[in-house]
């Protein structure tokens, strides 16, 4: 049996539409300084003895940063001069997956995870995700992740009968929760009518159904159980991980089947000893980049019955299941960091640091990330405190 791995601390910058005044290195150093302050951690090479960070996993995206090797310009912040640093170039929650095995392998004791993205630097996020499509068949028809989500939203609507009012309710609730989260300033409250009257982005997705463009950085410290006491009294254990890839061409998929999400969740729940996702979690953080995704992913994760996502929203399922009390990805996290921020928010709850949104006595949580057109790739992490 490999040793347990826990999260010692998490830190985030605020998530804002345009941090024109900060470079990504600057955002990251704020996160690093917070993590050091919370845990007293130092890079191992600076210590004469005792455990310290001996591996850094960065998470960023060359296309969003418009820089080859986007982790190269921040060696100092990552502690990588004459040290180990590796980049996860996928949905950020995968850095937790990687950090877990990097420690369980026995190679490393303490891992720093650092994700950054400045979506504001591009003229449009859609220009970035457009080039995720193959240049022969799907790129020439102009697809991007937003258009792909439109196709999925339409298919999900047809299958589940979800209404505009139910989708508006998801957005209104997200904005209410975001207002209580200090990391998401500048996400104004909206009414259901405003949501339903906002401009169409990719029919049936409207502007207020979509996660806002945002800039920011997020990080955490992972440690092996035999050294974790040095850094925290309340470790949050990574109890289960699981992910799955769906096929690439959307025509090859049933867009409403939640194939990859179900597989990802099944794997994470099996490893994490989760029997009933409806009742085993005190806190759930889902990556809902678009409003329809919250009920649809809830179906895939088994939080409600298949095709009943709309009723789940109507009957206040999100509140009962404590889904996205942080505001969720709909309140604004960069595409590639949504899942990593979800995990950071779940850790905040489990540590009892969630302020106005704290769930009393929260002990068990799930965080979820998604990447690719119409949810091609999903990743799920389960977390718990002693």
């Amino acid at each position: 049996m490999a040793r347990r791995v826990g999260i010692c601390a998490v830190a985030q910058t605020t998530w804002e539409r345009n941090k024109w005044h900060e470079r990504f290195q600057g955002m990251a150093i704020d996160v690093l300084e917070s993590l050091k302050e919370q845990t007293g951690v130092e890079f191992a090479k600076k210590l004469k003895k005792g455990p310290g960070i001996n591996m850094t996993i960065s998470c960023s995206d060359d296309v969003f940063d418009a820089r080859t090797i986007s982790n190269n310009g921040m060696t100092d912040v990552l502690g990588a001069h004459m040290g180990c640093e590796e980049k996860v170039a996928q949905e950020g929650i995968q850095a937790i997956y990687y950090g877990l095995v990097a420690i369980q392998s026995g190679h490393n004791d303490v891992v720093l995870i650092m994700g950054h993205c400045k979506e504001s630097q591009g003229k449009s996020r859609n220009m970035v995700t457009h080039v995720a499509f193959d240049p022969f068949y799907t790129r020439p028809v102009g697809l991007d992740f937003c258009a792909a989500a439109g196709l999925q939203a339409r298919a999900y609507g047809a299958k589940s009968g979800i209404t505009d009012e139910q989708l508006a309710k998801v957005v209104v609730r997200c904005r209410e929760n975001a207002a209580k989260n200090p990391t998401t300033p500048g996400v104004p409250a909206v009414t259901a009518d405003e949501v339903m009257a906002s401009d169409l982005l990719a029919d049936p997705i409207r502007e207020l159904h979509a996660y806002p463009v945002s800039d920011g950085a997020v990080g955490m410290i992972l440690a092996a159980e035999d050294v974790i006491e040095t850094f925290t009294k309340t470790p949050i254990w990574i109890t289960g991980v699981g992910n799955s890839m769906d096929s690439f061409f959307m025509g090859d998929r049933d867009l409403t089947s939640n194939f990859a999400l179900k597989k990802a969740a099944e794997r994470a729940f099996k490893r994490g000893g989760i029997k009933s996702p409806k009742s085993d979690f005190d806190v759930i953080e889902l990556s809902d980049q678009y409003a329809y995704q919250q009920p649809m992913w809830a179906e895939g994760l088994g939080l409600c019955e298949e095709g009943k996502g709309g009723q789940w929203v109507d009957s206040d399922g999100p509140d009962k299941n404590h889904v996205n009390l942080s505001g969720g990805t709909l309140a604004g996290n960069p595409l590639i960091l949504g899942g990593l921020v979800r995990a950071a928010e779940a850790v905040r709850q489990l540590k009892g640091d969630a302020g106005d949104q704290q769930v009393e006595g929260a002990k068990s949580a799930m965080a979820h990330g998604v990447m690719g057109p119409a949810g091609q790739f999903h990743s799920v992490v389960t977390l718990a405190r002693d």
């Binding site: 080859t68 190269n72 392998s105 190679h107 890839m245 690439f248």
Partner: protein, 392 residues
């Protein structure tokens, strides 16, 4: 460090490397390598638990290419991880696969590295690495003649140039035995003087002939837990240890004083924790990420912790040939084939093939018990592996 459990390499696949693989698209090219690796391991895609993928996005300008490449990598329905670290991406893929298996999370992991440099602008991509405010105006892609100047300064023009060209021609002789290699030029040693003058100069004494290619190609490796590896394979290549060492992006940030290279630091640390006192004697071969023959010869001294001109003597005395006492890059190395996201992984693959005894025409005759493998990328980033014939 105590590894949770041993990890062995049990299957290797490589596409043919070429400047223009116009006959295949990216997933198709990856599929060539994946199929060969699965066949080599004697397994089916169903036996694979997780697919690790890596390359550098800005070369082909495909965002999150693992999504599209699922068509060729076989990742459908599998767990998957995507990592990239520039030139060392291929090394990082191996580290990731090693962690995924060693941790106990997975028993069989397939790693895939690829690049189709023909479809982008390689030097433009590399230049984009530099800071847009401070350094991009000075950046010249991967081309640097600094090492050539340093070696010439230290050992004199005639000896330095001769050694560099001999290293280059020797690598071509190795590549001629490797059917997958991209550049197989058929060079002869008597061309050395002509090439030294007539090969076009790139930067100072770094000439076209010294420099690595830009290639299209993919590499795939199957990793398995000790139990599974022994079941699948008579002679796996074991990953005993590895170390990753990055460094600051500005070389002269600490002034002009000589500094310890990331190569030497990585080697010292890795040898110390594996109780290797005399690397040149205790190790059997080295598969090096040698982007140019100037770097290849210079880094030999760093990685083997040699002094003075010992590294030049190794070249002058034919110790580095396939038949030699200490073979370097029997595959022909990076100078022969360089599909960047795969390149560092190909080094691991080639050394593993030597241990497994399946390198065919470029198989080293002597038994390889311990091999070192280096990856290079970024701003002098190093990953150094120790592979063994016996399970650690």
């Amino acid at each position: 460090m105590k590894k949770n459990r041993n990890v062995g390499i049990v299957g290797i696949g490589q596409s043919v490397y070429s400047s223009h693989r116009e006959d295949v698209n990216q997933p198709e090219m990856i599929h060539e390598a994946v199929k060969e690796a699965l066949d080599h391991a004697g397994i089916k895609m169903d036996d694979v638990d997780c697919v690790v993928h890596g390359n550098m996005e800005l070369f082909e300008m495909v965002h999150q290419p693992d999504l599209w490449h699922t068509l060729g990598s076989g990742a459908y329905g599998k767990e998957s991880l995507r990592v990239t670290t520039g030139g060392t991406t291929g090394s990082t893929l191996v580290c990731a696969a090693d962690y995924l298996v060693s941790s106990g999370l997975h028993d069989v992991v397939l790693a895939v590295g690829f690049e189709k440099l023909q479809e982008g602008h390689t030097t433009g991509g590399i230049t984009n690495m530099a800071d847009p405010l401070w350094a991009r105006q000075l950046q010249t892609g991967a081309l640097t003649g600094m090492t050539a100047a340093d070696v010439i300064h230290e050992f004199g023009e005639e000896r330095a140039k001769k050694a560099s060209m001999k290293y280059r021609i020797q690598m071509d002789k190795h590549a001629m035995k490797n059917k997958k290699a991209h550049r197989r030029l058929g060079l002869e040693f008597d061309q050395a003087d002509d090439l030294a003058v007539n090969s076009p100069a790139l930067v100072g004494e770094l000439r076209m002939i010294h420099m690595c290619s830009q290639s299209d190609g993919a590499c795939a490796i199957v990793f398995a837990s000790e139990e599974k590896a022994k079941e699948l394979c008579d002679q796996p290549a074991w990953i005993k240890d590895h170390i990753t060492v990055h460094r600051e992006e500005s070389f002269a940030i600490f002034g002009d004083a000589p500094y310890k290279t990331s190569h030497r630091y990585a080697a010292e640390t890795l040898y110390k924790r594996n109780n290797i006192k005399n690397p040149r004697q205790e190790l059997d071969m080295f598969e090096m990420y040698d982007p140019s023959s100037w770097w290849g010869l210079d880094w030999l001294r760093e990685f083997l912790l040699l002094d003075g001109d010992e590294h030049l003597k190794m070249i002058e005395n034919d110790e580095i040939t396939i038949e030699g006492d200490f073979p370097i890059n029997p595959s022909g190395g990076v100078i022969a084939s360089n599909p960047i996201g795969a390149t560092a992984m190909v080094r691991v693959a080639e050394a593993a093939m030597q241990i497994m005894g399946c390198a065919g025409e470029h198989q080293v005759k002597k038994t390889i018990n311990q091999a070192i493998v280096s990856g290079f990328g970024g701003t002098m980033w190093t990953v150094l592996f120790l592979l063994t014939r016996e399970a650690p």
